[in-house]
């Protein structure tokens, strides 16, 4: 059997973590590439629907990352995001979602090293957990999954 490569999404804020990823890249740091990055203007832009939709599209894990508290480009976006996720995580846990598959970090534009380390931690964790069979078992058949995530693994 071929080695398992998880299908994962990373929602990264444009100003900090995405730039941090750029820094990791230009600094030629190595990290596993088993995630598809979706750049958003701010973590405050991340609707909880994004996360559910990702799992609905067959994701095995979702990573959300933005500016440190106090560093938000729009001053307050990550404060709102933080509160939203605080409650959202509790709802997900209550409804039986595996929280190990959901990762939240703050990574600044200067933290290329942290980005590479967290990326490795995330991918390794999801790889170890394996495919998110539980969630995928409720997905209807014949719905497009591959074409969206096909290029990832």
């Amino acid at each position: 059997m071929a080695e398992f490569h998880p299908k994962t999404f990373a929602f990264l804020c444009n100003w900090c973590t995405y730039t941090g990823a750029d820094l990791a890249g230009t600094s030629r740091m190595l990290y596993p590439a088993d995630f598809r990055v979706i750049k958003v203007p701010c973590t405050g832009r991340i609707d909880m629907e994004f996360i559910i939709k990702a799992f609905e599209q067959g994701a095995d894990g979702v990573w959300v990352s933005g500016c440190h508290i106090g560093d938000c480009h729009y001053n307050t976006g990550n404060y709102y995001a933080q509160r939203r996720w605080t409650i959202f995580r509790q709802e997900l846990a209550f409804l039986g979602i595996d929280l190990r598959r959901l990762k939240f970090t703050w990574i600044s534009a200067a933290e290329g090293r942290k980005f590479a380390d967290e990326a490795a931690e995330f991918v390794n964790r999801i790889t170890q957990l394996g495919p998110y069979n539980e969630f995928q078992s409720i997905l209807p058949e014949n719905r497009e999954v591959e074409s969206i995530l096909g290029g990832v693994s």
Binding site: N142, R143, E144
Partner: protein, 355 residues
């Protein structure tokens, strides 16, 4: 030859149905509600309730079904698949529904064969046998006798079981009538049925005589003919919350929505139940909504059931099951509203047109 069946023999019937290639669906508990579910063990049958929470209409008009799937095999090569009759319409016995539920598919069939033959509905109707059980109990929401049906009516049923006076606690004997050829064939190919003509339980006729018609559908239809703009719609429907529970639990409501789920490479076209009680139901792409108010939508529901459908097919689109009253969060009983219309028709026969 008169036939009967005893509840002790239900398991024999179920076993022989399986052998004969039928699946059996019957009333069963699902959490705190009851609905029609595939039954393998006679003990799972729950026949004590006046009426299940939802009607068995999902076995004719599925709550959700794929009607087409597509897959891109190359740039321009599309593979289309439609489900086969064997998949979506297996031979089925709907066992133990009430006569009002048995009448549902029979009434809806008129529209399903009208301008277009809905093969999903028709194939299922073809391969499904309905064995109804006459009612020995009714509650105040029941009004089958007002819509030309009865606690022991045969409309839509292929087999009618009439409870006999021979019952002891949990067991019950029924007299059996095969109404259609399909019903006769099922009885001939399965076991559990016996010769005999047990005495009809007196409760059935008590229910029948207690359940006096509470309105005259002909009078209602007459009023509706001219009552489209009547002020009554606005005041009578104020308390409606527009939830649509009435339409989803109704055995005759048959509106559906078609949605494509999927993307560029593959996907499915699905058919889901829909409801005229929701504003989105008639919302145009332009933003215009011909039925923007709940009074408009409620009027449509009553008009459809008691005027438009009878106009087209000479049948009332209602079986009097009363689920719309039992499940309404604000007690907007259809029966009560029709009684009001009946009174309006009697009071002001000449003023109606003027509104």
């Amino acid at each position: 030859m008169a036939l009967s069946i005893h509840s002790d023999d239900f398991q024999t019937l179920l076993d022989s149905l399986r052998e004969a290639g039928y699946r059996c669906v019957g009333p069963a508990r699902d959490g705190t509600i009851t609905k029609f579910k595939p039954i393998e063990q006679a003990g799972d049958l729950f026949l004590d309730e006046i009426l299940t929470t939802v009607s068995p209409k999902e076995f004719f008009l599925a709550e959700h079904e794929a009607i087409l799937s597509y897959r891109m095999k190359g740039k321009s090569d599309i593979e289309l698949t439609t489900p086969s009759k064997e998949e979506y319409a297996p031979p089925t016995l709907v066992f133990g529904c009430r006569p009002c539920d048995a009448a549902g598919p029979d009434i809806v069939k008129s529209v399903m064969t009208w301008d277009y033959d809905d093969r999903f509905f028709l194939d299922r109707a073809d391969s499904t046998v309905i064995a109804a059980i006459a009612c020995v109990e009714a509650d105040e929401a029941c009004f089958c006798t007002s819509v030309e049906l009865a606690p022991d009516s045969q409309t839509g049923a292929d087999i009618l079981l009439i409870p006999s006076s021979n019952s002891t606690g949990d067991t019950q004997e029924y007299s059996v009538t095969a109404i259609t050829e399909k019903g006769r064939k099922l009885i001939d190919s399965t076991k559990g049925w016996k010769d005999g003509n047990p005495e009809r339980a007196s409760a059935i006729d008590e229910v029948k005589s207690n359940l006096k018609p509470s309105f005259d559908p002909a009078k209602v239809r007459e009023w509706l003919d001219n009552g489209f703009d009547h002020e009554w719609w606005n005041t009578a429907t104020l308390s409606c919350i527009g939830c649509g529970t009435c339409t989803y639990t109704c055995p005759t409501c048959h509106c559906f929505d078609i949605v494509d789920e999927g993307g560029q490479s593959e996907g499915v076209r699905v058919k889901n139940w829909d409801s005229c009680m929701m504003s989105l139901f008639t919302l145009h792409t332009s933003g215009h909504n011909p039925r923007p108010l709940k009074s408009n939508r409620f009027r449509q529901r009553i008009m459809h059931k008691f005027k438009y459908y009878p106009d087209l097919f000479e049948r009332i689109l209602c079986t009097g099951c009363g689920r719309c009253q039992r499940h309404c969060p604000v007690d907007m009983a259809l029966k009560g509203l029709l009684e009001q219309i009946g009174r309006l028709a009697a009071e002001t026969p000449d003023q109606v047109a003027a509104g």
